[in-house]
Amino acid sequence: MSDVAKTLDASGLACPMPVVRTRQAIDQIESGQILEVISTDRGSLQDIPAWAESTGNELVEKEDAGDRFTFRIRKA
């Protein structure tokens, strides 16, 4: 997998914090770099892709391990 510039572990956080922390984390990387987000909140499965689409960032990968979800987002 392409290099991840930053990993955000949002495990244990509930709505809306995974998206809020994702926003704060993506502000710390450069355009084109990849942010990896790990979440245990089931709502993230819908929320993170929706956020990425609306903000113009590209969701390049989404992994559903049942109780743990990993997203890789390329910053626009």
């Binding site: 809306p16 809020v20 926003r23 993506i26 502000d27 609306s54 113009g56 960032n57 626009a76």
Partner: protein
């Protein structure tokens, strides 16, 4: 105890001065990073209620809007103004009715009160499900540059002065200024 009092107990202090505005400006400057920040990408939430079960969605949607790069205003009016009141400040008012308002605080006003058991129960359930308490969300909202705007008319009704409200918020607004922002906002909510 008010949300702010609880927050202070845990050592959190609201940012001083014009922090909210500066952060909002920073959010706008991030527009080059692909986050859309056109004027029409505003969100206004008229925060009318001070009940914990309403303050929660006010804060959740406000912080999420900011995470979307939107210019978010929480216009705190009527009971919603209690969220911005310094915990040590009572409602003074100019007659017995407004003084009576001081006997309430936001959580005690909740429809789900049951003698205080309701809010306590909600907090405990929320805690078990790792949902951030309203005071943490308020702190996050401030960090994200959400504009917290108190309603001048409500302040007058309740006998509150600017210094009775917490730091890090905007100058009081009237209905017209609030409507101007709503006119420029894509999302307008009344909670």
């Amino acid at each position: 105890m008010t949300p702010l009092a609880r927050l202070r107990e845990r050592g959190w202090e609201p940012p001083s001065g014009d922090v909210g505005r500066t952060a909002a400006r920073e959010v706008r400057e991030m527009s080059e990073s692909g986050v859309s920040t056109k004027p029409e990408d505003g969100m206004v939430i008229v925060c009318w209620s001070g009940e914990i079960d309403k303050v929660w969605p006010q804060m959740i949607l406000g912080t999420t809007g900011a995470a979307y790069g939107m210019d978010v205003t929480l216009f705190c009016t009527f009971w919603g103004l209690f969220t911005l009141k310094r915990p040590e400040v009572g409602i003074t008012g100019d007659n017995w009715m407004t003084k009576m308002l001081g006997a309430f605080n936001n959580e005690r006003l909740s429809h789900l009160n049951f003698g205080g058991a309701g809010p306590k129960m909600m907090r405990s359930i929320a805690d078990r499900h790792k949902v951030a308490p309203p005071e943490e969300l308020l702190a996050t909202a401030m960090e994200l540059g959400v504009r917290l705007a108190p309603c001048q008319m409500t302040m007058d009704l309740m006998g509150l002065k600017r210094e009775d409200l917490i730091d890090g918020i905007e100058e009081p607004l009237g209905a017209a200024a609030a409507v101007s922002r709503m006119q420029n906002a894509k999302i307008n909510l009344f909670i």
